[in-house]
């Protein structure tokens, strides 16, 4: 770097002690070696922003702050930063000078100070491999994009805004004038100045109610008046005051540390206040007027407790970081899913990667530690082709989609955990807040070699508290309370983080070795609420803990006590270790290059006591911290919404085929292959039924089947169900459809119906009535109905919920307009598979095979995908009957089918869901490169007033398309006796898919055109 400041350095106020060295790397000009990074940017600009540029080149920059000798710097170019074969590197000149023709626009993007820079961290590691004496060195990375052939109407600033997120990144832009003079963009080193430390302060709560609420709001505490008063009361208690006086704490007022700790612990995010509330529920249809004491206890936990009396495989439910089932005598499985919605709205990549590595830690923090072995990802986004007005502060859905996808891809792939199953749902109301569900399955031995059961935590007073993994920074402060608030333009950037999968992977390797060596007494992750939650929750088990904030390693000097306590900086676990095991534990940390620091001790003192060095900063009785939050009292009123009815046009068979083609192209139904392929779905060599099946590996699988023990044939089935559209009519139908879809998918691969367990993840708009939420009673009634559906259906299916999560503030207030997500449940299922060699895939196998439809079809087009399509095309509404559920009937049919599968009678099975029978049958044909000839005559016996639209596009529950080899038909029909199972027709050679009624064609389509439509919508636009 020549040391001359460029115009683009304006605004960079960071003082730099020594001028950083800038190393630059670009792809070499070799024939047959494109600049693939540049090509990806070019294609992304065209696909997502409609900007066509002629060429893009990407230069990777590494700023190194260290006192390097010349020969050291030269070595770094060739031995570290630039690949000697395919890249050119420079350190004293700018590569932008080297292009034969100067670019028209050059944009450099780098992180803001304090934002996690994973490549920078890797670069530092590599530098220290070569020159260990530069232990004080710092490395930051940036990217420079050079453009040629930019359309005249595209401003450099607009181009820059597509390439960086100002919340976490900086951009330096050189337009045509600067470029022609060789004035290249040059960001300064992102030095993170020390945080402004503030002494722990006492907060006077002896103030008016308005001032109490002011304290809550300005502090982003998200506590309501009742909760603030409960805290006020605690500090009025003479016993409290006596204890505090003795300790040297402000006797009659909380410290800021205590108030923050209470706010985290009592946040909606951490304590699920709405699910625990007392709800006065009124149903205007039935006249019901009742009080529900906790939806969670009544409708989620009770059914599971009742089922637990009948089975012996429910090991750990609801109280740990994930639910645990005993899979066989040697191994148990656990599963957990979480959402990371608000962070993903602000920074899609960072929010999503943090989400996936975060839920991996929930698994690692289950029992004494489980190994994450599979991820599932379900996303709800605005439509990628949305062209309506976009409120300020929001990213276009296609950008959210691409960023979230990239984050989950990095997080899963780099952690070595296969992404085996997922879904994507599109609806305009997810523009305000995308829903990003990240789920993980874990595996752990039933017993450790020391005899302890690994799903039981065994902490004792005196155990040493370690913080392991990453350090604490100002990133991630207030994530838990922030997610308990609606999203606004002022949402804090500190709530956004970027996960670091490699730091976490090293920690994971170390923790699992420590577990197997019997060194772990208790473990949990640092997620929402940071140390306040992790140490606090485990302190509940022994009855107390002491924590020294001064012993916590920091990313950044100067953090205040409360910030260290509640920071949600990633990649950290909190572990309890017996004093005599500390040496062995620390030796493992050294081997794996993982930081492990003693930060406290578990006690049985009855209190969570926090010091910062010698200074006491918090004393919170465990009973108050975990039992002091007052119950909410909420109002719920159900008034069924009104909708225009679905209107079916009168179409001939060709017209119906064209309607099917349009349906196949809708984002909710279209192939997600381009996106899913970039997830590793096979690492660990266990994935038996993959996301793709069929002759061309491109037809969609239903549930995933894994065989987690290498060489073993016992399997686990993982599936998901999600059907938010039905909430528009009735959230009961939505919830029932989600549970049935998850189970149906699992049945399609041959799950063991005697060992199935569920996860309920609720994402709701704020259901608490207030001036900001005038329709709170209705939204709460939707929640009540959804819970009742989960209760009814899970009981009927003997499907216990073993864990779950709720996110209750999925609203965005932007430009004064409130956008609420449709009430959404993701229901995930894990089940046993007795023998993976008998698993069944969804693709038709051979022409001549017989096609059957299991289950009953009714005229149920309300809120179906086709009704939304017709409404968008200007015809009718979405009103009508939603799918009813007859769980007893479905379960009997599912049992018969699974039994036929284990007898080897079933060639294929595919779930009938969005888009109904016609869509599902087409997908089965794609997998076989074949057509099908089917009749809907048999379906009429299920429902007298069933019409062709209901038969072909209705989404009645409990239905599965199966195909049977001709020689197995008789045995199959016998196996299905007593269950609704209609013969539809046969798989045929060629391209024609036809449905007939009474011998007349009602739908005719070409498999090839359907497949093109289905593949064309979400093709990624890149590569």
């Amino acid at each position: 770097m020549d040391g001359e400041l460029h115009p683009c350095m304006r605004g960079n106020l960071m003082s730099v002690q020594t001028e950083p060295h800038l190393f630059e790397v670009a792809t070499r000009d070799l024939e047959g070696l494109p600049d693939a990074r540049g090509e990806s940017v070019r294609a992304m600009l065209a696909a997502d922003h409609g900007i066509e540029v002629a060429a893009v080149r990407v230069i990777l920059g590494y700023q190194v702050q260290a006192d390097l000798a010349d020969e050291e710097a030269d070595s770094l170019v060739h031995d570290l930063f630039a690949d000697p074969i395919i890249e050119c590197g420079s350190r004293l000149t700018r590569l932008l000078d080297d292009f034969p023709e100067a670019p028209e626009i050059a944009i450099q993007v780098g992180y803001k100070p304090g934002v996690t820079d994973n490549p920078g961290q890797a670069g530092l590691d590599g530098l220290l491999t070569l020159f260990p004496h530069h232990s004080e060195a710092k490395v930051a990375t940036n990217r420079t994009y050079a453009f040629w052939g930019v359309p005249e109407n595209v401003e450099p600033g607009a181009l820059a805004s597509t390439l960086h997120n100002p919340m976490i990144e900086r951009a330096s832009v050189a337009g045509p004038a600067e470029c022609s003079e060789g004035k290249w963009p040059a960001l300064g080193f992102p030095l993170n100045p020390p945080a402004p430390y503030s002494e722990p302060a006492a907060i006077d709560l002896e103030v008016s109610d308005e001032e109490l609420m002011g304290i809550s709001e300005t502090g982003l505490l998200a506590l309501n008046l009742g909760e603030m008063r409960a805290i006020q009361d605690h500090y009025r208690d003479p016993n409290t005051r006596l204890v505090r006086e003795r300790l040297g704490l402000s006797p009659n007022a909380p410290t800021d540390v205590e108030l923050e700790c209470l706010a985290q612990t009592w946040s909606e995010h951490c304590s699920h206040k709405i699910f625990s509330a007392s709800i006065h529920h009124v149903d205007t249809e039935t006249g019901e007027d009742s009080v529900i004491d906790s939806l969670f206890k009544t409708h989620i936990m009770q059914p599971t407790l009742d089922i637990q009396k009948e089975v012996d495989w429910l090991l750990s439910i609801f109280h740990d970081n994930s639910g645990v089932i005993s899979w066989n005598e040697d191994w148990s499985l656990c599963i957990k899913a979480e959402t990371h919605n608000s962070p993903s709205a602000l920074d899609p990549y960072g929010g999503a990667i943090t989400g996936i590595v975060g839920v991996n830690r929930d698994i690692l923090g289950t029992g004494l530690g489980a190994r994450p072995i599979a991820n599932t990802d379900v996303f709800c986004f605005g439509p990628p082709d949305y062209d309506g007005p976009l409120p300020g502060g929001l990213f276009h859905p296609s950008r959210v989609f691409r960023g979230v996808h990239a984050g989950v891809r990095s997080g899963g792939n780099e952690s070595g955990i296969p992404t085996i199953n997922g879904a994507m749902v599109f609806d305009e109301r997810y523009i305000g807040k995308p829903l990003v569900f990240c789920g993980t399955v874990g595996l752990m031995p039933r017993r450790l070699t020391d005899g302890r059961e690994s799903h039981v935590k065994t902490p004792e007073p005196g155990d040493v508290v370690y913080m392991v993994g990453g350090r604490v920074g100002s990133d991630g402060i207030h994530g838990a309370t922030f997610s308990s608030l609606e999203l606004t333009e002022e949402s804090p950037s500190s709530a956004v983080q970027i996960g670091d999968p490699i730091t976490q992977k090293k920690m994971l390797d170390m923790i699992l070795e420590a577990r197997d060596s019997g060194l772990i007494q208790v473990i949990t992750d640092n997620g929402a609420g940071g140390l306040s939650s992790s140490v606090g929750e485990m302190a509940e088990l022994t009855g107390g803990a002491e924590l020294d904030l001064g012993a916590v390693p920091l990313k950044q000097a100067g953090l205040s006590s409360w910030e260290i306590l509640v920071s949600e900086s990633q990649e950290r676990m909190t572990v309890g270790v017996r004093p005599e095991d500390c040496n062995a534990f620390e030796a493992l940390a050294v081997l794996h290059e993982v930081e492990a620091s003693v930060v406290g001790t578990f006690t049985d003192s009855g209190a969570f006591v926090v010091r910062h060095g010698e200074k006491p900063v918090a004393h919170l009785p465990i009973a108050f911290l975990y039992g002091g939050c007052p119950q909410l009292h909420l109002e719920s009123e159900w008034v069924p919404p009104l909708h225009m009815p679905f209107e079916a046009p009168d179409l001939d068979a060709i017209g119906m085929g064209e309607a099917l083609c349009r349906l196949m192209a809708r984002p909710n139904i279209a192939s997600k292959e381009w996106w899913v392929r970039s997830y590793d779905h096979e690492v660990i060599a266990q994935t038996v039924i993959k996301p793709f099946c069929g002759a061309n590996h491109d037809s969609p699988g239903d549930a995933a089947v894994i065989a987690p023990i290498q060489g073993g044939t016992q399997g686990a089935v993982i599936s998901n169900g999600i059907a938010p559209r039905y909430s528009d009519i009735d959230a009961y139908a939505m919830a029932a459809a989600a549970v049935d879809e998850a189970l149906r998918n699992a049945v399609c691969v041959g799950v063991d119906l005697d060992m199935i367990a569920g996860l309920d993840n609720f994402c709701w708009p704020d259901p608490v009535e207030s001036p900001k939420t005038p329709d709170g009673r209705f939204k709460l009634a939707q929640l009540v109905r959804a819970n009742r559906a989960i209760d009814d259906v899970c009981r009927a299916y003997h499907l216990p919920c073993i864990s779950g999560k709720d996110s209750m503030k999925n609203d965005a207030m932007l430009d004064g307009e409130k956008i609420s997500v449709p009430p959404t449940i993701l229901f995930s299922l894990i089940g046993n598979h007795p023998d993976v060699r008998k698993a069944v895939s969804s693709d038709f196998k051979s022409p001549g095979d017989a096609i059957y439809l299991l289950g009953q079809t009714h005229q149920e087009l309300g809120a179906s995908e086709i009704s939304y399509m017709m409404r968008e095309e200007g015809r009718g509404g979405i009103g009508g009957a939603t799918p009813d559920i007859d769980a007893e009937r479905n379960l009997a049919a599912y049992r018969a089918l699974c039994s036929a599968m284990s007898d080897g009678l079933v060639a294929s099975a595919h779930d009938c869901s969005e888009g109904g029978l016609a869509v599902a049958l087409s997908e089965c044909c794609f997998g076989a490169d074949a057509g099908a000839s089917a009749s809907i005559d048999g379906l009429l016996s299920d429902c007298e007033h069933l019409d062709a639209w209901g038969a072909l596009f209705g989404e009645s529950l409990g239905r599965i398309i199966v195909s049977i080899r001709p020689g197995d038909r008789e045995a199959f029909e016998e196996a299905m006796e007593g269950n609704p199972c209609h013969f539809l027709g046969t798989v045929v050679q060629g391209d024609a898919i036809t449905f007939s009624r009474d011998g007349e064609d009602v739908l005719v389509a070409s498999m090839g055109s359907l497949r093109n439509a289905w593949k064309g919508t979400l093709d990624g636009g890149v590569g």
Binding site: P34, E39, N118, S415, G416, P501, V683, V836, S908
Partner: protein, 270 residues
């Protein structure tokens, strides 16, 4: 030699396929130990106690600064003599995916007679610009000296990488490696009859990364050191295949196992 050969399967820093890599060596008749790279650095483990070294797939150091680069440097600078000694002793080494990238970037592959650890090739970003998991068909050069691929014709295995395009900056080397049988394994179109290895780049996605000459993996001049981008260890059992539900074959070992059997049989004097 007597007894089961011992395989050192390296781990740490983001390597993540060690579980299945250990499993395939065990299935093939070896014993496998998971060895953290730092155990070799500190002397807690000694490579000379092992007959096979495997560097599994993964995302060492997050693939930052080029996949395999940083782990390659740890080995090239931190374990230089241990690794050279192992190779010079004529012991089999395999690198899979990220492990292959490590071997190429530390200069062990395609390598030279002196084991000079000089990089002569690289693995560039796929032409698609992104990571992909998809199944491919591989065909082996029957004249290769590679002991790992002896007697093999074709197998179906997945690729799972973003940087797998094999290139060099000296095209003359490609001819040299081709002549010496070091271009041991290539991507081929499964519908063509065997043999069909071709130097013409096959269309995407038959060639998933647009590797030069469809190269999927290479060996060193001795045939003892072998690396490839695809994952043979991921197809260790028939039920892990991409289209096994469409096939009527008996269940048992998957198509990828032959590679690991070859190494074990070589050591057992087979």
């Amino acid at each position: 030699m007597a007894g089961r050969p011992r395989a050192a399967v390296l781990s740490g820093f983001g390597i993540n396929c060690e579980t299945e890599t250990m499993a395939v060596f065990e299935m093939a008749g070896a014993t496998a130990d998971r060895i953290h790279v730092n155990q070799l650095v500190t002397g807690a483990a000694d490579l000379s106690d092992y007959q096979i070294m495997a560097i599994p797939g993964g995302f060492s150091f997050g693939d930052h600064l080029g996949s395999g680069r940083l782990l390659g440097n740890r080995l090239r600078f931190g374990l230089r003599e241990q690794v050279r000694g192992f190779v010079k002793a004529g012991k089999p080494v395999i690198g899979i995916c990220n492990g292959f990238q490590v071997l190429v970037k530390m200069g062990l592959l395609p390598g030279d007679d002196e084991v000079s650890l000089t990089q002569t090739a690289s693995l560039a970003l796929n032409d698609s610009g992104h990571y992909e998991n998809r199944w491919v068909t591989l065909e082996f050069d029957p004249s290769s000296p590679c002991i790992w691929t002896r007697g093999m014709k074709r197998i179906r295995v997945p690729v799972r990488h973003g940087e797998g395009k094999f290139v060099t900056d000296d095209r003359a080397l490609l001819d040299k490696w081709s002549a010496s049988g070091q271009l041991a394994v290539r991507y081929v179109d499964p519908i063509t009859p065997y043999p069909s290895i071709s130097d013409e780049t096959l269309p995407y996605p038959t060639s998933p990364n647009q590797s030069w000459r469809n190269i999927a993996g290479v060996c060193d001049p001795t045939g003892m050191v072998f690396g490839l981008m695809p994952h043979p260890e991921a197809n260790h059992s028939t039920w892990l295949g991409a289209t096994w539900t469409r096939e009527d074959s008996e269940h048992g070992e998957g198509e990828g196992m032959a590679i690991f059997h070859n190494a074990v049989e070589h050591l057992m004097g087979g």
